[in-house]
Each structure stands twice: as C-alpha cells, then as structure tokens.
C-alpha cells in the first residue's frame, strides 16, 4: 500500500512540474510586462536593463527553473505590479475566495439536495416541473450574465444589496472575514448565488436521477409494504443510498468552485485570488500568474490524490491487483 501511495505522489509531482512548464511556455504569449512597468519616458536602454534584471531575456525553461528553485525555498518572488512578495498578496486574497467558495458550496449542497429530493418525490407536480425547467437556466446561462442580471435586479433596481466588493471585513489574526459584519454578509449573497448556481443545479439533477433510480428498488417497495411512513422511506432509506455518488461529485466540485471563482470575482469585484489572477494577466505580472497557477494545480492534484487513495481503501480489487500483479 505504501508503494502505491508513493507512486501516486510521484505521479502527482510530475503532473505539477508539467503544468508549470506549460504555464511558463505560455507566459510569453500573454505579452510583455516591461511597458507596464516603465513609464512613457523610458528609453530602449531602460527596457533592456529591466528585462535583464527580471531575467526575461532568458529562455522560458531557465525562467521556469529559477522559479522552481525559489519556490521550493518558499519564495514565490515579488509581484511586478505591486512590488510586494507574491506570497503575502496571495495570503491576503485567499480568505475572500475561500469564504465565497465555502458559502456557495454550502448553499449549493443544501439547496441542491433539498430540491433534488423534492423534484424526485413529486416528479409529476407543477412545482417540480417548474424547478426542473428553471434549473436549465443554471446550467446554460453563463456565470457572467447571471452575475450582471442579479446586480441589476437587486442592486440597481431594488437597491437591497451592494453591487460589488466584500463590505466591511474584520481581521482575525491575518484572516480577513466578512462573516462578522452585516455589510460583509450582505455582500456575500449575490456572488455566492452566482458562483453556486451551476453546482446547485448539478447536484439537484444528480440527486433527482439517483433518487428516482433508488425509489424503483425492491427494498423501497418492501419498506412501503411494511407500512413505514413516506418520510422515513424517502429520507432514511432512499436518500441515504443516493448519497454515495453525490458525495463523490461534491468532492470533485470543491476544486472547481475555487478555480471558477475567477469570473464571479471579476463581475462582483470580489477581492479574491481569482480577481488577482485576472489583474495579473492584464499586467503580465508573471510571478503572480505562476504562483496562482501552481496553487490551483496543487489543489486539483491534491484532491485527486486524496480521491485515489480513498479508492484504495474503498475498492478491495485495487489491493488485490497490486499484490497479484499482471
């Protein structure tokens, strides 16, 4: 088993290295940061000097090697735009993204499961059908449009909720939280709906189809025959058995919520790492782009690694295969 885990870890590390290499090969197409860093009155000499200082005159493989060399020592470089260590900036921005992702995720799970169960049980009712057709919006409308529509409805027309930003935040030893102020909580509503809508509809549709499948099973019929109440049948017997695939999907979607926060953060000017990344692209802030991409890939690779290792415990066949060999 140890050998299996070591192998998976080694494979993950290789994936990370390749992601980094591809990222560095692409940076040159994003543009040239030099013009953004020097003013109008720069000379060709200034351009060459700065290019040399930043190591941009080197081939991308060398740049990548230098980045790795520093990264393993915990140094992710200094942002071209802000002139501050990238790690500080990421730490500053991470709470915003993580709080938004957490709220969207929780909303998506609660409403997704509840609506999924509802539409499965009342699958011929008018309300259930309305919800099902409504869920098409969540699946098909782009996040950007949903965000803008929500802003126009709830901020511009009704004036209930703020149109951008995080509201007042409270600093808890380096972690800035919006959970403790009224304006912070209000500011969370629209972005988290925007970000979580797709995941919610996904979970809802999954729960519904799994539930319909389970409700056809013999043990449900027997449960009904035993005279159990509907409530017990639906929640204790049916829902419990639909949860295995649902939990797997939720796990995989956690990474997606954080990574896809970019669009939501841009629409709502939400000061998280996604917005930071978009700004970094516009400025060709290579250290920030590199650190962000590595962070996101570490996260995805990490989640996949955990899932793989969990399979190892869940699925005995894997163990047999390793022992027996082919």
């Amino acid at each position: 088993m140890l050998a299996y885990i070591i192998r998976r870890v080694a494979q993950s590390a290789l994936v990370l290295l390749i992601v980094g290499l591809v990222a560095f090969a692409m940076f040159r197409f994003v543009g040239d940061p030099i013009d953004n860093m020097l003013g109008q009155e720069r000379t060709a000499e200034d351009i060459e000097r700065l290019r040399g200082q930043l190591g941009l005159d080197q081939p991308f493989v060398v740049q990548y090697y230098r980045f790795l060399e520093n990264a393993v020592q915990g140094n992710f470089g200094v942002s071209y735009r802000q002139g501050r260590p990238v790690i500080d900036i990421l730490m500053e921005r991470a709470p915003a993204t993580l709080e938004l992702a957490a709220v969207s995720g929780i909303l998506a799970i609660i409403f997704g499961i509840a609506l999924g169960v509802f539409t499965a049980i009342k699958r011929n009712g008018i309300t259930a059908n309305l919800i099902m057709s409504g869920s098409l919006i969540g699946v098909s409308l782009p996040t950007f449009l949903i965000g803008i529509l929500l802003i126009y409805l709830f901020s511009v027309e009704l004036g209930w909720l703020p149109s951008f930003g995080r509201g007042e935040v409270v600093d808890l030893g380096g972690w800035s939280t919006g959970f403790l102020t009224a304006s912070g909580l209000k500011a969370l509503i629209l972005p988290s709906i925007t970000l979580g809508l797709y995941q919610m509809t996904l979970i809802m549709r999954l729960v519904r189809s799994e539930m319909l499948e389970v409700l056809r099973q013999d043990y449900i019929r027997f449960a009904r025959a035993r005279g159990l109440r509907d409530r017990t049948v639906h929640f204790r017997h049916a829902l419990k058995n639909t949860m295995v695939p649902v939990i797997t999907v939720i796990g995989l979607q956690v990474g997606a919520i954080i990574a896809f926060a970019i669009i939501t953060e841009t629409v709502f000017q939400w000061p998280g790492v996604g917005l930071l990344f978009i700004n970094a692209i516009q400025f060709v802030d290579i250290p920030v782009m590199a650190a962000y991409l590595m962070l996101i890939s570490v996260m995805f690779v990490g989640i996949n690694l955990i899932v793989d290792i969990l399979y190892f415990f869940i699925d005995p066949r894997l163990r047999v295969d390793r022992k027996g060999g082919h």
């Binding site: 003013g39 000499e45 802000q82 511009v156 930003g165 841009t266 700004n279």
Partner: protein, 525 residues
C-alpha cells in the same frame, strides 16, 4: 445583563452621531479602473499613480483647474541670470502629514530621489545640472542650457520628507521589490492616506494642518478599483459609489437620461494618430507591393484625405471627441493656431495623390492596432480600414492587447499603426521630442518614433525650442515644426480622446484634461 449591554451599545451608537453633526459628514467614494501600483511618487510615471498621489503629495508648483501652473510648495520662482536655471522660493509654515516641517532640505532630497536611476521620473530632470540649497526656503535649479518650460515640466514632481524617508529606509524608490514608501504616504497635500489595501481600497481623510484653503466638503474618501465596466456602472447607478471613470461611451446616452446621475465630459490631452514605417525597405504584410509606398509623402497625405474623422467620431465616439490636426490638442501650450484645419475628407483627392505616386489601384498592407489601450481603439481601426478600402488601400487589420502591442511595434511588425500620445509636460515640444525627432538612444530622443521619421530641420529646431526663453520666437519655431510635420504628413492625427466621467447628481467636481481626479475640488451636496 442583556439590557445593560443593549444600553451600552445604544450609547456607543449615539455618541459619535451626536459629536459629528450629520450635515457635515460627507463621505465620498469613487471607482477607478486601474489601482495605483504604488504610493511612491517617484517610482512609477503613470496617470493612475501620479493622478492619485496629487491628492496626497504636492510639488513646488501645481496645475490649476485650467491646467495653468500655479504656486504650491513654492510661492514664487524666477529665472537665474541669462537662463542659467530657476530659483524657487519655498512656502514657509508647511508641515508634512507626520508633523515634520517642510524646508529646502526636503526639496534637495526629493530631487535626488526622483532623479536617481531607480526612479521612473528621472527624465524630468535631464536638463538639470545641479540643485543648490541657498537657504532654508530658497532653492536653485541650475540647467545645462536655458530652459523656459522647466517650472511647467515639474508640476508632477512631488516632495517627500527626507527625515521620514530615512527613518523608514525608503531614500530611493524600489519598484522591483517595494519598500515602506510603496504602501505608505506622507505628503503635504490636502488629504492623507489612512488605509491602503492594494487592489482593494484606499481611504483618504482631509489633512487638518494643510496650508491651503479647502474647497471641498469631504470628511472621508474611499477609492476602489473596479475593472469590469458593467460592474462600475452598476455601482454608480445603485449609489454604491459617487463617481466612476471612465463611463463606457455606449452608456453615456442612457446615463444622461437618468436624473440620479450626471455625465461629466471633456477632452483628454491624448491625441490619437496613425503612424507609418518611414525607414522600412518594404511592406511587411503585402504580397504584391514592391518597396515601401508609405515612404512617399503623397501616399501618407492620401491616407489623411481618405479618412473621414468626423464620421468616426459621430458613430464610434457618439460625438464625444474632436478632430485634431497636430500632435497636440488645442488646449496645450505651443499649439499652432494657424494650422488648426484638418485635411478635408476627400476620397477623390486621395485617389489622385495615389495615382501620382504610382499606385493608381492602391495596394494592400497590414494595420496594427491595440484593442484595450484607448477608448474604442479596435472599432476606430475597423472604421479606418473600411474608409481606406474606398480609395484602394486594402488594409488587413490586426488588433491585439496592449501587452502584445508595444513589443510588436518595437520589432517593426506593422505597415501602419495606431498610437495615442498624451504630452506629460502639456507642451507641444513633448511629442516632437518623442515622436518626431530622429531616434537617438544617447540623446534620449525619438524613443516612441517607431517608424524612424527623420527630418533635419525638425532635429535642428528641437534643441532651440527647448532652450528658447522668448515666447514668440519659441512659438515661431513650434509653428515651423508643426508645418513640416503637416506638409510631410509624418503622422495622420485623427482626434483628441474624450474624457467621460460619471457622478451622482449631488456631486460637483472639476475635470482636468490630464485625467487627474483632484479630490480637493469635489463637493457632495
């Protein structure tokens, strides 16, 4: 217990309200597209940085509402001898926001800091040979040659306290890794920075000991960067911010119909123009054309006649911009009044000129254009492409983000390109130095003259313009250069870029053509 807590909370809530009369508390918030990169006034020479810091730091001189130079930290200035330099008399009784006193030492220190190689503003001081402290409130700036526009050229040079910089190890700007001055500010200006969270928000409060008479009624101001134009517009419409810059051109009309907001329009100092590859041997993006037709002034003139600038402005800019025929707008010092008329839109004349130059059927070429640098830049280039096609000039448009655009222009990968130029000194000499002078790395001339335009007379007149004290003589030389550039159609100037701000209807402010947002002229009613 609970009741006690509640009473205490109520008291706490009422107290500040009772102390500050509600009518006086004027909070103002505004949204910008680009967050200033730094709070260091000498590190980066860009509009977002200098424009913002103008509220916090001050220079010896400053620009008024009409862009004219007026006294700030200097109360007066006079030329020394026969143009050996300028003497500045400093204002007494001025304190920095940390309480220390302003005097000549700070001026000398700020000169050394701003002219150091680490600084982005060093080129402002290229004409200066030495700065001498005469006494505590008098400083001499000695120049290599007579320099009539020196006081004008340092309006954005801001004074930093030498003691503060030394105490915080920020005696030189550090753009690459930052220092104390990157995140903190200590000027003499009307506002001080109380909170600085890069990319998130910056909070300003009035500086109680400011030497000037406040014209504003703001008690607290907050600046937030909002990159997405739709989000910024929504923030203005919902009242979450009091001002946005810019308003997307296509939304201007809609905002004008809304009683809760107003649109403040003006023109920027930026002139948009088309440039040519004067020195190229051949066109880069043309299969059939021999040589470089744009080396022929008649072809360049034909381009000028073929473009219907008023039509572009009517459709793409919705009438918010005005045509221009020189490298500077009429609001700038040294503008040539006699040459105000733009070449008429005349496709027949354009065709005749092309035939005369040996291209009766026109030719094909590549037009390079940015798509995120200037207002509606790509749309303007599309219109230009269509208009040129009508006289037989078949342009292939290649529009790209500005991050990729400048490297392409530097590499000479264009047959025609779009460029906007905003003269930092607000003087007609500026574009001549950067765009019309023959490129010369050593003398730092023509550094944005991508096409390598070169004219001996222009090169001869430039140093004379730079050192001529007598205003009419200087204007005569500027007129001559403008005439040469127009006769040779070195560039095809198109229009002056508009400036469109949106504010709540209860806000009054002053818009300056340098696109600086000056907080001390803002009132909230």
């Amino acid at each position: 217990m609970l009741r006690l807590l509640r009473t205490a909370a109520c008291a706490a809530a009422i107290l500040p309200a009772a102390l500050v009369p509600a009518a006086q508390a004027k909070e103002f918030s505004w949204a910008v597209t680009t967050d200033p990169q730094t709070m260091d006034p000498h590190a980066v020479n860009s509009t977002p940085v200098l424009g913002f810091l103008n509220n916090v730091y001050e220079g010896l001189v400053r620009r008024g509402k009409d862009m004219s130079i007026e006294p700030a930290l200097a109360t007066g200035w006079e030329p020394i001898g026969e143009g050996e330099g300028w003497r500045f008399f400093l204002r007494e009784g001025v304190t920095f926001q940390d309480g220390s006193t302003f005097d000549a030492e700070d001026v000398v220190f700020s000169y050394e800091r701003a002219s150091s190689p680490e600084s982005d503003t060093a080129s402002w001081f290229a004409p200066v040979s030495d700065v001498v402290r005469v006494d505590d409130y008098t400083v001499d700036f000695l120049t290599h040659s007579p320099n009539p526009i020196f006081p004008d050229s340092i309006a954005n040079w801001m004074i930093m306290d030498s003691g503060w910089a030394e105490a915080n190890a920020a005696t030189r700007p550090d753009k690459e890794s930052g220092n104390f001055a990157t995140l903190n500010a200590n000027g003499t200006g009307a506002f001080r920075v109380t909170t600085r969270e890069p990319g998130l928000r910056t909070v300003l409060e009035p500086f109680a000991d400011w030497w000037g008479e406040p014209e504003h009624n703001i008690t607290r101001a907050e600046m937030t960067p909002i990159q997405n134009p739709a989000t910024a517009l929504a923030a203005l419409l919902s009242g979450d911010v009091d001002m946005i810059n810019p308003v997307p051109i296509q939304d201007v009309q809609r905002l004008q119909g809304n009683p809760d907001v107003q649109v403040v329009q003006g023109i920027e100092a930026r002139v948009m123009m088309l440039g040519f590859p004067h020195q190229a041997e051949a066109l880069k993006y043309s299969a059939e054309t021999e040589g470089n037709p744009f080396a022929d002034a008649r072809v360049r003139k034909a381009v000028a006649h073929a473009i219907n600038v008023p039509a572009i402005l009517r459709t793409i800019m919705r009438g918010n911009a005005e045509p221009v025929n020189q490298l500077v707008s009429s609001a700038m010092r040294g503008y040539s009044e006699a040459l105000a008329d733009a070449p008429a839109y005349d496709p027949e004349a354009a065709k005749a000129l092309l035939a005369e130059a040996g291209y009766p059927d026109g030719f094909s070429f590549g037009l390079k254009c940015s798509n995120n640098r200037y207002l509606n830049d790509e749309a303007v280039c599309q219109a230009v492409t269509a208009m040129l096609a009508q006289v037989g000039l078949k342009a292939t448009l290649d529009a790209m983000p500005v991050q990729n655009y400048w490297p392409e222009l530097r590499a000479g990968n264009y047959d025609m390109y779009l460029l906007g130029w905003s003269p930092g000194t607000f003087d007609a000499e500026h574009p001549i130095r950067f765009l019309a002078a023959t490129p010369n790395e050593e003398k730092k001339l023509g550094s944005w003259n991508f096409g390598g335009y070169s004219n001996a007379r222009v090169d001869e007149l430039l140093p004379k313009i730079q050192s001529e004290i007598d205003e009419p003589t200087r204007q005569g030389m500027l007129d001559e250069v403008a005439q040469v550039l127009q006769d040779e159609t070195a560039y095809v100037p198109l229009y002056v870029q508009p400036l469109v701000w949106g504010t709540g209807s209860n806000v009054t402010l002053t818009q300056r053509p340098d696109n600086f947002f000056i907080l001390r002229w803002v009132s909230v009613n």
